[in-house]
């Protein structure tokens, strides 16, 4: 039976003010986890805070048998997590949820969930699928793991666009540069302290306008994802976004974490579970109003 695993922390480092990189031994995750999936951490041993906290898997290291998360301290759970030290133990459930759909090797990409995928991709260049990976703030976490996987796939051109408030919040820059020469890094900051001065979605808009992208993966604040989805709709391109919602069970049993998604002929919409059908959804499936 699956259950919480007690794992040993191998690294806990504040890589930027308020942002921590935490890695831990977990052969299981290394072998099972898919980019976009998440883990559920118990941050406390008492009844307060009560619920586990979800974090995207940010990295796996096969040699060291380690997995890692990247998290921002925003409340009590993450503050407690930040107090843990190397060699401390942690209770981890996962991998949970449905991750990103990787483009199938050597053939035109067709996200399962995007019925029009093939058609939409008619313009893509003979050999290279051009991918934009768009991260806002700590949204880089699942995307870094995604990049780890994408970099090994042939025939891809990868543009990674990272937006943050300021230079300091641009996370994992060196690690991304080291990943692969195949990856082009574009930075944006709200305060202009590094790279493009403005929202990262404006950079995406420019790339899309120049017809340089066939497929988009994104993770970040809701407003950013909403804009990404709008742009994709405008350019009629496929893409996937990773959502966040307050969770209860984390495994699909309680229906707490739902978001509104497109319905069928009978229903104008349905509620999908971020922990089970998500956290990654085709951008066009989401109904963004709520």
């Amino acid at each position: 039976m699956a259950s919480y695993n007690t794992v040993k922390i191998t690294r806990q480092e504040e890589i930027a003010p308020g942002f921590y990189f935490l890695s831990f031994k977990s052969p299981f995750l290394v072998h099972q986890a898919q980019p976009g999936q998440f883990v559920y951490f118990r941050c406390s041993n008492t009844y307060d805070p009560l619920l586990p906290r979800p974090f995207s898997i940010a990295m796996v290291n096969e040699e060291k048998n380690e997995a890692a998360v990247l998290y921002q301290v925003v409340g009590r759970g993450t503050a407690l997590l930040a107090q843990k030290k190397e060699l401390d133990y942690l209770n981890v459930l996962g991998p949970l949820g449905r991750g990103f759909t990787l483009p199938p090797l050597g053939q035109p990409f067709q996200p399962k969930c995007c019925p029009k995928g093939l058609e939409q991709l008619k313009n893509f260049p003979q050999f290279f699928l051009r991918i934009a990976v768009v991260a806002g703030g700590v949204g880089i976490a699942p995307l870094f793991f995604l990049l780890q996987r994408l970099k090994d796939l042939p025939d891809l051109i990868i543009e990674i666009l990272i937006g943050a408030r300021s230079t300091k919040q641009l996370l994992l820059k060196p690690e991304i540069k080291n990943l692969s020469p195949q990856i082009n890094l574009h930075l944006a900051t709200d305060d202009g302290s590094c790279g493009y001065h403005g929202p990262v979605t404006e950079m995406l808009s420019t790339l899309l306008g120049a017809d340089k992208i066939d497929l988009v993966y994104a993770c970040g604040p809701k407003a950013m994802l909403k804009t990404v989805a709008k742009l994709l709709a405008e350019y009629n391109l496929p893409g996937e976004v990773s959502l966040e919602k307050q969770m209860g069970c984390g495994v699909g049993a309680c229906l707490s974490c739902v978001c509104k998604t497109k319905g069928d002929k009978e229903n104008s919409f349905r509620y999908s579970r971020v922990c089970k059908e998500g956290p990654v959804f085709p951008a066009q499936e989401i109904i963004w109003e709520d």
């Binding site: 009560l50 969770m247 209860g248 069970c249 699909g252 309680c254 974490c257 739902v258 089970k276 709520d290």
Partner: protein, 307 residues
Amino acid sequence: MVAVDLTVEIAGLKLKNPVITVSGTFGFGQEYAPYVDLSRLGAITVKGLTLLPRPGNPPPRLVETPAGILNAIGLQNPGVEYFAASILPYLSQFKIPVIVNMAGETVEEYAALAAKLSELNNIAALEVNISCPNVKKGGLQFGSDPTAAAEVTRAVKNNTCLPVIVKLSPNVTRIEIIAQAVAQAGADALSLINTVLGMAIDLKERRPILGNIFGGLSGPAIKPVAIRAVWQVFEEVSLPIIGMGGIFTAQDALEFIMAGAKAIAVGTANFINPRATIDILEGIENYLRENKIEKLSDLVGVAHYKT
């Protein structure tokens, strides 16, 4: 190891042990099957069903509170037909009693749903939810008035041969009065308690956090309220009680049993520990063994006889 007798009989229903899942936190069992050997449970109570599918409430549907959570799911469920066709066959494989939690907006709906469910095989009992705080119509409306509660109970009883468990709300002035009313109307057992009505404000947005404004409080925070309800009803009504509300450990479960519950159900705890039901089951067994108590039933309500 000495064998201890964990069996429980509730309204003619024989359970091999007292550990049940509450409705709504365990889905239809599937999601927890990777974590729990469902066949070890005393019984499973499924998510609240209605006659027709319901989309549920707009999100946010859950917010964490001190030692508890507020939920406002709003009875999202696929409806009884889908349940019969796709879920019940799956659950049958585990050979444990399946208790179906049912809700409706009118007395007629409860009656019709009871009739429909009674045609199906492999259902062990009906749990009549007249205590859901998260729906506009029905729910708590029935559960907070003795006459209405009795009426729903009677309507269900008249349409089924299955044991009928009525699930009561703590959001009433005197829960024992409601309990008496449904007992007189023919209920075979009682589930105590459903969630406590609560709410939370989003300071940034300056409005209620939950899409439904109100939600139901569950988890350790409400344990004292639940034990009190079990105690009060045990004193006044002779129906068997399934106790629930903040049970996280075997110790919690034993408190409920000593207060008068014949069986107990585990809800929110599953979110924190998917194996909670099994841990509790094993903990109860150990307690009996260590204290040389042969039958769990010897503990039911003992706290009443010592005061």
